[in-house]
């Protein structure tokens, strides 16, 4: 089978599996995965970002996720005066509003509470079915079993890390409404949020699948095989002797033609 046909078959299988597995994920797997993600975020978030006074993440009655992130913010008096206005603004899509203690005088904030809509957290479970679809689209399900398990663990770890980064960025964005930040910091947070929410969850399953699945990798990166080349052989297929200008022996020619032509 030529490389083009292999890739075309992979595209068809991968697309079909993506549709099937994403529908399966959307209707059946989403809730269990969100439950696991919340518990994992609670454990790792408390260790890395949280404090002991309150749970790092809790679920509100509406199903949204409520976070408390320790963050030292010194609020200038002018910003303190403008706080009611700041609280009316929604800092991020999905982030409801920072909740601040009501008191007068100078204010040092030690932590920020905010809610993230449940629909926004879905993206942090979505990489798993995409990864499964890519690995299962490779020929030979038995050979895909080990990469499937190993890659699933990698993707799951990545999703927890991405969620924690998103939570930290959201907390800093909320804090930015109370204490002004430099233009560069704002841009950096915006860029980081874009990567964490819109790029990495969608793109990461592909390089992870290629890195853990040797056969899939070799299928993808076996450039230029399977079709006779007009105008002679490619330099990459020539043996060392041929490259040096000397004629190749029969054995060398057999070796060059043999395994490289199999697909």
């Amino acid at each position: 089978m030529t490389a083009d046909k292999r890739l075309a078959r992979f595209l068809v299988r991968g697309s079909a599996l993506l549709i099937l597995l994403l529908v399966f994920w959307w209707f059946l797997l989403l809730n269990p995965l969100l439950f696991l993600l919340r518990d994992s975020a609670e454990i790792f978030g408390s260790l890395i970002l949280g404090d002991d006074s309150r749970q790092f993440v809790t679920e509100t009655p509406s199903g949204d996720w409520s976070f408390r992130v320790p963050l030292e913010v010194a609020m200038p008096p002018i910003e303190r005066a403008a706080m009611p206005l700041a609280l009316e603004q929604v800092p991020l899509p999905g982030v409801v509003a920072p909740r601040l203690p009501q008191q007068s005088g100078p204010l040092q904030i030690h932590s920020i509470d905010f809610d993230i809509a449940r629909s926004d957290v879905n993206a942090f479970t979505f990489s798993l079915p995409v990864f499964w679809a890519i690995v299962l689209a490779a020929p030979g399900i038995r050979r895909s079993l080990r990469p499937l398990i190993f890659g699933t663990i990698l993707v799951a770890i990545l999703e927890i890390v991405l969620l924690l980064i998103f939570v930290e960025i959201s907390a800093r964005n909320a804090a930015a409404q109370l204490a002004p930040q430099s233009g560069w910091t704002k841009w950096f947070l915006h860029f980081g949020e874009y990567l964490v929410v819109n790029v990495i969850p969608y793109a990461a399953p592909f390089p992870i699948a290629l890195s853990v699945h040797r056969e899939l990798r070799s299928q993808f990166f076996r450039w230029g095989e399977g079709t006779p080349i007009p105008g002679g052989r490619r330099p990459g297929l020539q043996s060392g002797a041929a490259r040096n200008g000397r004629p190749r022996s029969k054995k060398q020619r057999r070796r060059d033609m043999g395994p490289a032509r199999q697909s």
């Binding site: 890739l7 697309s15 979505f126 793109a203």
Partner: protein
């Protein structure tokens, strides 16, 4: 660069062009829709979809361009890969946009699913395969040095 104001302006114009093309295709196939800038609206139901940043497949096109430009191939083949690959991705994206226009009129739950997750991952998969098909041809006809064999 996508997030800088000058590129954003070009990006928005490009989205409007894609919406016009989608509108033309719907008209050719006998459907009814109205264009309002980057918004495609159904005159009967009032349902509308807007092509915003990220909906015009520019991000995956950039991904393809990066891969093609980084691949060791002659410039003629690279130019061909950039052009043909971008056209293919945009063709898939127009199918995506039109399908979302109709899915949204049927069910918003399915629209959210197809818009946020399904089509996004299909586009990335298509981009990856388009790049591999191009790289395969480029190395077959472009005499790419391949010492790793």
């Amino acid at each position: 660069m996508l997030l800088t104001p000058p590129v954003q302006a070009v990006d928005r114009q490009f989205s409007r062009v894609l919406v016009k093309v989608s509108h033309g295709l719907i008209g050719i196939c006998g459907g009814h829709a109205r264009v309002e800038g980057a918004v495609l609206r159904d005159p009967a139901t009032g349902f509308a979809v807007e092509m915003r940043d990220g909906c015009n497949a520019v991000n995956v096109t950039i991904l393809l361009w990066s891969a093609v430009l980084a691949f060791p191939a002659p410039w003629r083949l690279k130019a061909l890969g950039l052009l043909a690959g971008s056209l293919l991705i945009q063709a898939v994206n127009i199918v995506r946009f039109i399908s979302l226009f109709y899915i949204g009129q049927y069910s918003m739950t399915w629209f959210d699913f197809a818009h946020g997750y399904l089509w996004e991952s299909l586009l990335v998969l298509d981009t990856m395969v388009v790049f591999c098909l191009w790289a395969n041809r480029a190395s077959r006809y472009g005499a790419v040095p391949n010492d790793s064999r």
